[in-house]
Structures are given as C-alpha cells and as structure tokens.
C-alpha cells in the first residue's frame, strides 16, 4: 500500500515539474506586451522600457523561469503586475470562493447522479431508464452558462429566492452558502449527466456478473444486491470519472463565475490573461495542476480502499 502510494506520489511530482516548464512556455508565448497593456496607447517608448525593466520583463527567459520556481519553492509568489497586491493573497481570496463552489457542485453531482444511475440500470430498457437517459441527454447538451441565466431569471429575478449574483464573503456564512447554491447547480448540470451515464453503464456491467446472480440466487433483497454487491464494484469507474470531473469543474467555473459575478479563481485567470498579468496566470495554473494531481492521488487512494487489486498489482 505504502509502496503503491509513494510510486504514485513520485509520478505526480515528475508531472508537476514538467508542468512548470509547459506552463511557463505557454505563458511566455502569449502574444501581447504587459507593459503596453499597463500604459495604454499613449505610452512613450521610454516609459514602456522603464516598466519592462521595473517588472523584469526584459530578463532572460531562464532567469525568469528560475526566479519563478525559486518563488514557488519558498512560497513567495511575488506581486501581481496589474493589481499590485501579492499573488498569494489574490489567489487565496479567490480560492475561498471557487473551492467551495467546486466542492458543492461535485457533492451535488454525486448525490444526484449515483442514485439516478443505479435507478436507470435497475429499470434497464424500461420507461424509467428512458426518462433518466433523456434527462442526461439534455444535461449534456445544455450549456451551463445558459442554464445559469435561466436559473437567475427564475429564482433570482422572478421569485427572488436567491441573489442574482455576487458573493458576500465568508464573514456571512449563511448568505455565502446561499449565494453559491445557484452557481453550484448550474455548474453541476453537465457533470450530473455524465456521472449518471457512467454509473448506469458501470451498474449494467456489474449486474451481469456471476456474483450478482449468486447473490440473487441466495435470496438477497433487491436493495442489498443493488447497493451492496453491484454498486460497490461499479463505483470504481464512477470514482475515476468524478476525479476527472473535478478538473472540468475548474474550467466551468470561469464561465459560471462570470454569469454569477463570483470573484473566484476562474475570473482571476480570465482577467489576468486579459491584463497579461503573467505572474498570476503562471501561479494559478500551477496551483490547479497541483490540485488536479492531488485529486488524482486521492482517487488512487480511493481505488485502493474500494478494490484491493491495485495495491497488489502496483
């Protein structure tokens, strides 16, 4: 078990090291001059040059890469060029919005998708199954920002049960959770659909297994068969997909945060790209690489708990 996990951890660290190179390269080739973005169209060549020197844009690539890595290792990420504030504070302030949003969406997605998937598999090729499949078809096709706008019109503008957008801050916990409900719902729609389908097909596979027939033959109740015997094994692919979804949620957050005016990491990335705030982009992307790698490690850990085989095989 320890060996299995340490191998996975080593793999993750190598991935991370490679990711820093890729991220740095991509950010550096972004067309656009941060100094020009700062000073605008009336800027003189001498002021532009002064800004480039001030922020070190004129340093050689390798120096800048090493400075960045050094900063990452010492947890000193430097200051945002656009805002002037420290990058770690900027990211920290945004994470407290995006992480709960993602967690709520993921929680909501699993809560709805797994029972739905089990239900659909149980009602295989009957109206219940068709209904669920129809729903997932819609869930996959509807863009989540559009769903978000519909939710706002219905629940915020017409009925005013929820705020139309914005985030009060965690000093007001109840209001904050309240503000995240609609965004989390819109963010989770597509994920519910995908996860439901994966659960359904995984359940259909396991329901055909011999041990399920054995369980039924020995007179186990339908719920024992479904949830104790079939679902536990079906959960392995479901967990994998849920882990992947965590990555997609980050991408979705960029859009959903815009619709709901949430000051989250997605908006930070979007704004930083527009401002060519390179130091922020680099660090946010690496942070999310770390986050996704961590989720994948957790998924590996979950495999090990759900299914003893990887521990041995590894």
């Amino acid at each position: 078990m320890i060996e299995f996990l340490s191998r996975r951890l080593a793999g993750a660290l190598v991935t991370l090291a490679l990711a820093t190179v890729v991220v740095f390269a991509v950010v550096e080739v972004l067309p656009g001059d941060p100094a020009l973005v700062m000073l605008g169209t009336d800027a003189r060549p001498d002021t532009l040059a002064a800004i480039r020197t001030k922020y070190g844009f004129d340093q050689p690539l390798l120096t800048r890469y090493l400075q960045w890595i050094g900063g990452l290792l010492t947890f000193n990420l430097g200051n945002s060029h656009a805002y002037g504030t420290s990058v770690s504070k900027l990211i920290g302030d945004r994470l407290v919005v995006t992480l709960p949003l993602g967690a709520m969406a993921l929680f909501w997605a699993t809560l709805v998708a797994i029972p739905l998937g089990v239900f659909a598999a149980w009602k295989h090729r009957r109206p219940g199954d068709w209904g669920v499949m129809g729903f997932t078809q819609i869930g996959i096709s509807v863009p989540n920002f559009w769903f978000g706008i519909v939710l706002v019109l219905a629940f915020a503008v017409t009925w005013q049960w929820f705020p139309a957008g914005g985030f009060p801050g965690w000093q007001e916990p109840v209001k904050s959770v309240h503000a995240l409900i609609l965004p989390a719902l819109s963010l989770s729609l597509g994920e519910i659909a995908i996860l439901t389908r994966v659960t359904r097909s995984a359940m259909l596979d396991t329901l055909r297994e011999d041990y399920v027939r054995t369980a039924r033959a020995k007179g186990a109740t339908e719920s024992t068969v479904l949830f104790k015997h079939a679902l536990r094994n079906a959960l392995i692919p479901v967990t994998t997909v849920a882990g992947l979804i965590a990555g997609f949620l980050v991408a979705g957050a960029v859009i959903i945060e815009s619709v709901f005016r949430l000051p989250g990491v997605g908006q930070l990335v979007y704004d930083s790209i527009n401002n060519r705030d390179l130091v922020v982009i680099k660090n946010v992307v690496i942070l999310f690489t770390i986050l996704v790698l961590t989720v994948n490690l957790l998924v590996d850990l979950a495999y090990a708990l759900l299914d003893p085989r990887p521990r041995v095989r590894a």
Partner: protein, 504 residues
C-alpha cells in the same frame, strides 16, 4: 481608445438574455427593497487594475478615483469645460508659456497631510521627469520647470505654448498626490477628494466612504459608494433587476437596453462620449496607401446601417471629432454613401474587381457589431474582408504597436485626440506636413476662439484625406434608479464626479 472596454466573454449569453428578458418579469416590484438613502452601488463593466491613475492607463481607474479620491489642479465639469479644482485660480502669461496657479488653502489629504505648493510641485515634477512612467507623460513634456513661489503659489513654465495644458492638468493622470502616500497609492489611494478609499475586494468591488476632511462637506450627500464589477452584459441586467446595483453609468450592451427602458424603476439616459468609432486604416500598406482606395471605402460606408447595429445608439461622424464639441463641423457628406462612385474610384485605383484584406477586431461590443456590418458593406464594392478576433493585449501589440494590420475598428475615447494625426509612426501611418503644421497652430493658439477655428480646418484635412473610415460617435448609455439624482448625462472625460449625487 483607452476605454479598453473589453467585450465580455459571452456575446451569446447576452443575446439569450435579451431574448429572455423580453418575457415579463412579475413580482419584482414588491420585493425590491428601497435602497439606503446614503449608499450608492455603481456597476462597472471593467475592473480597475491598480487604483493609481499615474501608474496605469485603464479608464476604469479614472472612473473610480477621479475626482472622488484624487483631485487635480483643474476640474472638468459635466460639459467638459475646465474650472477650478485644487487650484482656485490661475494666470496665463501673454505668450502662453507661464502659468501661475493659486493653490487652495486648508485642503487636507485623507491621511491628515496638508496640501501646499510643494506637494503640487512634487506631483507635477513626477509627470514629466525623465524616469516618469506616467501613461500620459507625453501630455506634459512641454513643461520646462515647476517652481514653488510661496506655499500657496506654483509657477509652471513651458518650453512652448500648449493650449491643452489646463485640460491635461485636470485629468486623473495629473491627480495631486502627496509624497508620503504616492508610493502606495496603487493599493491604498490617498487623495484630497470628497471620498476616501475604504476597501477593495479584487474581482468584486471597491468601497469608498465620505471623507470627513473634505472642504465642502455639504456638497456630499452619499456616505458610501460601492463600485461593483459586473462584466457580463446579461449579469449587468440581472444585477439591476435584482436590485444589487443602483446605477450603470456606462452600460455596455445596447441590445439589452429596451428591456430596461420599459421598467418603471429605471431611467435610461443616452448621452455623448468622446469616443469616435473609426475604421482605422493602415495608410502605409498597399492598397490603402492609395487615397482613391480610401475614398472608395468612405463612399461605401453606410453609417445609418452601422448605427442601427448599435440598436440606434450613436451619432454619425465624418471626421475624427465629437459632434457635441463647439468646434465640431459636420463632414459626414464629404464622401456620401454612393456605391457607384465607390466602384468607379476603386476601378480608377486599379482594383476594378476589388481586393482581399483583413479586418482585425478587438474584443469590444461595438467593434464586433460594426465589423460584421462593414464586412458586408465593403463586400458590395468587391473588398472582401477576412475578420480576425484579437484579445486586447494582442490588439495593442499586433495592430497598434507593430502596425501589422490592414483594417481594424476601435473607439478613440480621449478628448482632443486629433493630435494623433500629427504623430510620427502612429499606427495608421498618416504623414501629412499640412496637418502637422495645422496642429502646431492648434497647440500654440492662445485664443480659444481662434483655436476652435483652426480645429475646424484640421478636421477638414483628415476628412478630405479619408485617413480612416469615420463611423459614429459612441453613445453613453446610463441606466439608473429613477430616484437617483445628479449623475452625469454625458461623459466628456472618463471620470465620475459623485459630488452632488443624491437620492430623492
């Protein structure tokens, strides 16, 4: 063009919202709570990066800080005229080279420091110093020296007369800053204005509160002003409808205005801006270096159609000058819409079958809308445009700085920006000794009536030369609650003066 009014991510979302918004929305009236009478929430579609207008060119910084936090020597009023600001009066010498400013006494900065002539000298020296990184440095390089005459008098000497100096010294770029707080003004702006900076949540909001040390406390009716960042046009509408935002002085989605016009809770005020939307043309690149080609294009542009793509907002222009300015002359008929003439001119220029060119669009709503319409209009005389979408930073580097473009659409939002036609190496590559001479006269004019006359001639030169395609003047669409009084109808400068704004 520093409005940098970026188009929001999701035009599609906006359109969909538009469609949905036409459905009736019952029940909002009863639930909309009355706003607190001393608090104003202003929606902004762009977020200011730093909060120091001397460090960054973004228009949003000026909206938040000038003159609410930072005041300048002069103050631009709602008509665009310059009146006394931190200077209560000034004298200009006969030759236009010496300005003596009388500095207002008893003015305190928000941190308790006192304003005097030395503080003014510090601010002005920073503008044109060799190591100045002020985004508008070029406006101040005619200044030779700044001297403290006595604690309430400052003398500014110019190398050569500059008839725009007072205006330039009234901009946020010349906001008076104290040496003590200047280094940290980007995060914690401290000025002399009616409001003090309280807090900022990046990506979300900026809060100002009434300054207890302001010299005229009676003029300030609001205790708290919150600038709320709402980028997405559909989210702007829902923020207004849900009562989260009281006012959008610069509403960015003309296609969604109709929904708000019908709502009895809001007023929609359409005013003017300094933003000329032009089809910027690369005058040094073939075939646009041929005046006949540019004239042909001018004849093929149908401004009415372009304005209807803006949902009817905007005023046609025939030169690079704002119609509300008193020196304006109507030149829209210089090259009237006439396709036959346009084709004939193209044939004369050697392109009877037209040609292909690229149109690079920045991510702003008006450029996106006008781009599609223009591609269609020029297509009718055989000019086939391939549209490329650029992000702002790309546009700035590729089209503006490197001049790697054929045509682009952009709004030039500064006042007095005809001077760009006199600049060497500017991105449209216009080089006319005649215009440069004319512009030198404008700058050197000491008599404003005479200056207006020369400005008219200057407009005519660039209209005649069809340097760029002149499309329309951007409208300022303001939407706010109907019991809110005092917000400016027009935007003569990208500033937001909140003194005198109150709830009925």
């Amino acid at each position: 063009m520093d409005s940098l009014s970026r188009r929001h991510l999701f035009g599609a979302a906006g359109m969909m919202m538009g469609a949905l918004a036409t459905l009736s929305v019952p029940g909002t009236e009863a639930l909309a709570q009355g706003p607190a009478k001393d608090r104003l929430v202003i929606g902004m579609s762009l977020e200011p990066p730093v909060l120091d207008p001397t460090k960054n060119a973004a228009a949003a910084i000026r909206e938040v800080t000038t003159p609410s936090i930072f005041e300048a020597l002069g103050r631009i009023d709602r008509t665009g005229a310059v009146g006394p600001g931190l200077a209560e009066s000034w004298n200009v010498s006969e030759d236009g080279k010496e300005y003596v400013f009388k500095i207002r006494q008893g003015v305190k900065f928000h941190d308790g420091e006192t304003l005097d002539a030395s503080v003014v000298k510090f601010t002005l020296d920073r503008l044109f110093a060799p190591d100045s990184t002020n985004p508008a440095k070029s406006l101040y390089t005619d200044i030779e020296k700044v001297e403290v005459v006595d604690p309430s008098t400052v003398k500014v000497t110019l190398k050569s007369p500059n008839s725009f100096l007072l205006y330039s010294l009234s901009l946020g770029d010349a906001g008076i800053m104290h040496p003590k707080s200047a280094p940290t003004n980007d995060k914690n702006p401290i000025g002399t204005g009616p409001f003090m900076f309280k807090e900022r949540k990046e990506g979300d909001s900026i809060t100002l509160v009434k300054s207890p040390t302001y010299r005229d406390p009676g003029s300030i009716k609001l205790n708290t002003v919150i600038f709320k960042i709402v980028k997405d046009p559909s989210a702007q509408v829902s923020a207004l409808l849900a009562g989260d935002v009281d006012a959008f002085p610069g509403f960015q989605a003309p296609e969604l205005v109709e929904r708000l016009t019908k709502d009895p809770r809001f007023v929609v005020i359409v005013g003017t801006t300094e933003g000329e939307v032009i089809l910027a043309t690369n005058n040094v690149k073939k075939p646009f270096d041929n005046p006949k080609v540019r004239q042909a294009m001018a004849h093929a542009i149908n401004r009415e159609e372009l304005i209807s793509a803006e949902s009817g907002f905007g005023v046609p222009i025939g030169s690079h000058f704002a119609p509300h300015n008193k020196a304006y002359v109507d030149l829209t008929k210089t090259y009237p819409f006439d396709l036959a003439k346009a084709k004939a001119l193209l044939a004369e220029a050697g392109y009877p079958n037209g040609f292909e060119a690229s149109l690079k669009l920045p991510p702003v709503g008006y450029a996106q809308r006008a781009g599609e319409v223009l591609a269609n209009q020029l297509g009718k005389i055989g000019i086939k445009l391939a549209i490329t979408q650029l992000q702002w930073p790309q546009w700035l580097s590729e089209a503006f700085k490197e001049r790697n473009y054929d045509l682009t659409i952009v709004a030039h939002t500064e006042a007095n920006d005809l001077d760009r036609y006199a600049r060497d190496g500017y991105y449209w590559g216009y080089n006319s000794p005649e215009f440069k001479a004319k512009w030198r006269e404008v700058v050197a004019a000491t008599d404003f009536a005479k200056r207006d006359q020369i400005l008219k001639e200057a407009q005519q030169i660039i209209a005649r030369d069809a340097v760029n395609g002149y499309l329309f003047q951007l409208a300022k669409i303001g939407v706010w609650k109907k019991d809110l009084v005092g917000l400016w109808e027009n935007a003569p400068t990208p500033q937001l003066d909140l003194t005198g704004v109150y709830w009925k």
